[in-house]
């Protein structure tokens, strides 16, 4: 039987029209058909995501900013000769002075001394030669002539060096403390997020994979833990373990993993009945291998996105706790501790609020933009959502 006849039989012999074999001609019978190798390298899931991410300018910029801040957090404190707790009480609350920027009127090291008595302006013991820059707002208070005196505060105190970001209430270099604080804040954020990730993935995987009663019990436990107010939890940790990194990180972990667990659970529900899982199970693969080798890789995209969103949240939470007095103990700085201290002297030394505020704002925005970019790259269906 010819090939054509065989083909007809296979298709439907009863319905096949009665066509002579001569009407047909076999094509491509002169060569062997095979798959052709790709001329370009194969693009995998993550490479594809990377390509999409690199096209997102906002996210790339955010990533650069994050890298810059992380770089400064690591190397910034070492860029000055001062230690983060090196005190010089004669140079308290010095204004910022950056020689390169001073020429254009930024960070000049000038300060306005308010309501100074006019009678003392000629006293070079109080105002060394060349320290007075400008006199403003002359007025009379209770019969005494006073004036606002703009001074070069470094000349006023006889200081030759420069503090780029000024000094704090104990004369400690603010640049050093800021980057040291950023380092501690980032450590708190990364450690807590990483721990949350590990707990959340395992918990969510078990809950989602096994489902049923196990899922019901595990999820109810989540709800109970989630009901504890965070501030109460922090206070209790501080009460029992004292203030420090451990208490802060634990307070961020105690309920922080639940969101990750729910996300992973949902992903496992989505994938656990797919054919490849069924095939693995049929072949007798162990549950743990199915969970973490076959199902988990399909959840990596959302998990990475969620993790990137969690980092700024952890930084912000740490700052909030420090702001309400539940942060690290002095003299260790964090961005939150610096902000908490600075807001009390906001009207007198606004630069002390400005620098940590800029850094934390940059971190928050950058991590959010970065996470947005990752989400779009890893899961294009979510773009713009």
């Amino acid at each position: 039987m010819s090939d054509l006849t065989t083909l007809r039989t296979i298709l439907d012999p009863t319905e096949a029209p009665d066509l002579p074999d001569e009407s047909f001609e076999l094509t491509q019978s002169d060569r062997t058909l095979t798959d052709v190798d790709f001329k370009t390298p194969a693009v995998g899931y993550f490479r594809d995501a990377l390509q999409r991410f690199s096209q997102n300018k906002a996210s790339v910029t955010a990533f650069v900013i994050i890298c810059a801040i992380v770089f400064m957090a690591i190397f910034g404190p070492g860029m000055t000769p001062y230690g983060f707790n090196q005190q010089n009480v004669d140079l308290r609350n010095m204004p910022p002075r950056i020689p390169a920027l001073a020429r254009i009127g930024i960070a000049t090291g000038h300060r306005t001394l308010e309501r100074r008595r006019v009678e003392f302006l000629e006293d070079t013991e109080r105002y060394p030669m060349g320290s007075i820059i400008e006199l403003r707002n002359p007025t009379v208070i209770s019969g005494v002539e006073v004036v606002d005196v703009v001074v070069d505060y470094y000349a006023y105190l006889g200081v030759t060096g420069s503090f780029w970001f000024g000094t704090d209430y104990l004369g400690r270099d603010y640049w050093t403390r800021l980057w040291r604080g950023a380092r501690v804040s980032l450590v708190i954020a990364f450690v807590s997020v990483a721990t949350n990730l590990i707990i959340g993935v395992i918990y969510g995987a078990v809950s989602g994979y096994y489902g049923g009663t196990v899922d019901m019990v595990l999820m109810r436990i989540c709800e109970v833990i989630e009901a504890f107010p965070r501030v109460v939890v922090v206070t209790l940790f501080i009460l029992f373990f004292g203030t420090g990194l451990f208490s802060i990180i634990m307070s961020l972990i105690i309920s922080g993993w639940i969101t990750t667990a729910r996300l992973v659970r949902a992903q496992f529900y989505r994938f656990k009945l797919r054919e490849f899982v069924l095939a693995a199970r049929t072949m007798g693969v162990r549950d743990s291998v199915i969970m973490f080798r076959h199902v988990f890789p399909n959840s990596v995209g959302p998990i990475i996105t969620r993790t990137m969103f969690a980092v700024p949240l952890a930084i912000f939470t740490e700052s909030f706790l420090a702001y309400i007095g539940l942060g690290l103990q002095a003299p260790e700085p964090t961005i939150g501790v610096l902000l908490s201290d600075a807001q009390r002297v906001l009207l007198n030394y606004p630069y002390q609020s400005l620098f940590p505020a800029v850094v934390i704002s940059a971190l928050m925005i950058s991590f959010n933009l970065f996470a947005n970019g990752l989400r779009d790259a890893l899961d294009p269906t979510m773009r713009g959502v």
Binding site: N93, I141, Y169, Q343, R344, Y349
Partner: protein, 584 residues
């Protein structure tokens, strides 16, 4: 025709306008003419203040916080009251509910008679009688009510016979050394006091008067609680002002009391206080002219240091670090050499500079008056000066030697101690951080201090917990206010028989000195001075406390306020707001 009508209309309008302006001018003139009369009767101008904490109660038997006490001093009637001296200089003690000077009955000064004035009135117009005073005094130490100020008649040099026993339920009221015969009280005291000491005692809030009908009406069934002073409707004023408004946690107002005995001396129409805890907000309000007084933080003081309106006020307590010499976990704290090392390693001059305070290498503050007849301050006496350590008690070399010796005997290479400080008190934290670093440098890193911020109430409770817990704390900040006119009161806190002390201190020598000075003839000022100085020296030698600084605050007062005294602030009167005037 139209022109004529318009012209008439204009004339009519001009006439109306003229009448209106005339009426307004007349009314304004009338008001100006009426103002002096209003000033005399109801006062003029409202003093606008702020308080960092809410008003807790209007019951003088229950008040604890400073802000509450400041307000109660405006509205509570007392037997005697501090007032500006003649010509606005110094002070005098005016008999208020008392008719005159207390009369000394015995030779030693333990029995006194005080006559109550006739014709006094509460702010509601009802008569204020000696029976009301008796009721108030009985209630403050009532054994069932357990008032916060129940120690009023046994907690100071003025100790009424059996007052403590009555307050604890161990004696009947009839056994208490307070008798009322007609309009005259007789007080029997355990310790001798002078005329001034007794009057000073009777200027206190705890012994001021409460309105009996409302105090009784507010009692619960078993008489363990009263709601007196929990609102403006459950109390009646008797002082220079009467409370007219109290919005819990927000504001409170007192207006001039027309029934007050010395109403003619009160110039203000009222005092309005807003509760604002944020110092930056208070500063903003002052700069906007919305309040008349602001207490400056050390940062604000740097800003306003040359402002002629700034008033400097010494604090009434010495801030010190208590060392837990009972600690079993850190037994080296029991070694006096180790404690003295901390004393000598403390750079008080720099600490004072950081916190804008007064460096203090002493326990009894500079505000204490040794001799009320000439106003001599204890700290200015040769005896008190003689016990002061040189260089404000700062000698790093000596500190290092003492530290090394103590550590060697204890077999320690390094030690870590925890220093608890008041949360939210920035100056305290700054000094703690400074000492942490300074001590680390002096002792070559062998002493590591960890800092712990603790709420004030919790810190006080921790320091008081040593009788039940040897390891309740290691190091902790404290400062205790005393009676400025009685230096002995500053010693009481360290006497081993004093209850609820903040931190342990035990010394037979000190206790003996304290008991002796209490029993000394009250007019032997020199003898008392020598014993007080000796007791302070013993206390400093034993170094169970490291004195660091004495508080110093700075006030900025609006130009519209005129103080009744030339100094603005004094030990006896404070700012004397009740006697101030407004000059708009």
């Amino acid at each position: 025709m139209r022109t004529i009508r318009n012209s008439a209309w204009r004339r009519c309008a001009a006439l109306m306008m003229g009448l209106l302006v005339s009426g307004m001018l007349y009314a304004a003139g009338g008001q100006q003419a009426a103002r002096p009369a209003a000033t005399a009767e109801s006062g003029y101008g409202t003093l606008r203040l702020t308080a960092g904490r809410p008003l807790e109660t209007l019951n003088p038997h229950q008040q604890a916080a400073t802000a509450t006490a400041d307000f109660l001093r405006l509205i509570q009637g007392k037997l005697y009251r501090f007032a500006p001296g003649p010509g606005g200089t110094g002070y005098q003690i005016l008999p208020e509910i008392a008719a005159g000077e207390p009369v000394q009955v015995d030779d030693e000064g333990r029995v006194w008679q005080i006559q109550i004035r006739d014709g006094l009135q509460w702010s509601n117009g009802e008569p204020l009688t000696a029976e009301d005073v008796l009721y108030s005094w009985r209630m403050v130490m009532d054994p069932l009510l357990l008032n916060h100020r129940a120690n009023a008649f046994h907690g100071s040099q003025v100790q009424v016979v059996n007052a403590l026993a009555y307050a604890t339920g161990d004696a009947a009221w009839d056994d208490v050394g307070i008798r009322l015969d007609g309009n005259t009280f007789e007080l029997r005291l355990i310790l001798p006091v002078t005329n001034f000491m007794l009057k000073n005692f009777l200027t206190g809030l705890p012994v001021s008067v409460v309105y009996p009908p409302l105090y009784e009406a507010g009692m619960n069934a078993d008489r363990t609680q009263t709601n007196y002073g929990t609102s403006i409707d459950t109390m009646v004023s008797s002082g220079p002002f009467m409370v007219t408004n109290w919005i819990q946690g927000a504001e409170y107002t007192a207006m001039k009391n027309p029934y007050y005995l010395y109403a003619d001396r009160v110039s203000l129409a009222g005092v309005h206080t807003r509760v604002i805890s944020e110092s930056g907000t208070v500063m903003q309000l002052f700069e906007n002219g919305e309040i008349d007084f602001v207490e400056l933080s050390s940062a604000d003081f740097q800003r306003f240091r040359e402002d002629p309106r700034v008033i400097e006020v010494p604090g009434r307590s010495v801030q010190r670090i208590v060392i837990n010499l009972l600690s079993t976990e850190k037994p080296i704290l029991q070694d006096v050499r180790f404690r003295q090392a901390l004393f000598w390693a403390t750079d008080r001059a720099t600490s004072a500079r950081i916190s804008a305070t007064i460096a203090a290498n002493y326990i009894i503050p500079t505000t204490h008056v040794m001799d009320v007849t000439d106003g001599t301050l204890y700290r200015n006496t040769p005896e008190a000066r003689a016990i002061l350590t040189p260089n404000l008690g700062y000698d790093p070399q000596r500190a290092k030697e003492l530290f090394d010796a103590a550590m060697a005997d204890a077999g320690l290479d390094r030690i870590s101690l925890q220093l608890a400080y008041h949360e939210g008190v920035e100056e305290r934290r700054a000094v703690s951080e400074y000492l942490q670093e300074q001590w680390r440098e002096i002792f070559g890193g062998r002493l590591q201090i960890t800092l712990q911020a603790v709420p004030s109430s919790q810190l006080a409770a921790t320091l008081r917990a040593y009788p039940n817990d040897d390891n309740a704390f290691e190091l902790g900040w404290t400062g205790t206010g005393h009676n400025d006119f009685d230096p002995v009161s500053a010693l009481a806190h360290y006497y081993s028989g004093t209850p609820r002390r903040k931190g342990p201190y035990f010394s037979d020598e000190y206790d003996e000195l304290y008991r002796t000075v209490l029993q000394m003839p009250i007019d032997d000022t020199q003898g008392r001075l020598e014993l007080i100085a000796r007791a302070e020296e013993v206390m400093l030698r034993d170094a169970s406390f490291v004195p660091v600084n004495q508080g110093l605050s700075f006030g900025l007062v609006s130009d519209r306020v005129r103080f009744a005294t030339t100094d603005g602030w004094s030990i006896a009167l404070g700012y004397g707001w009740k006697w101030a005037a407004i000059v708009d």
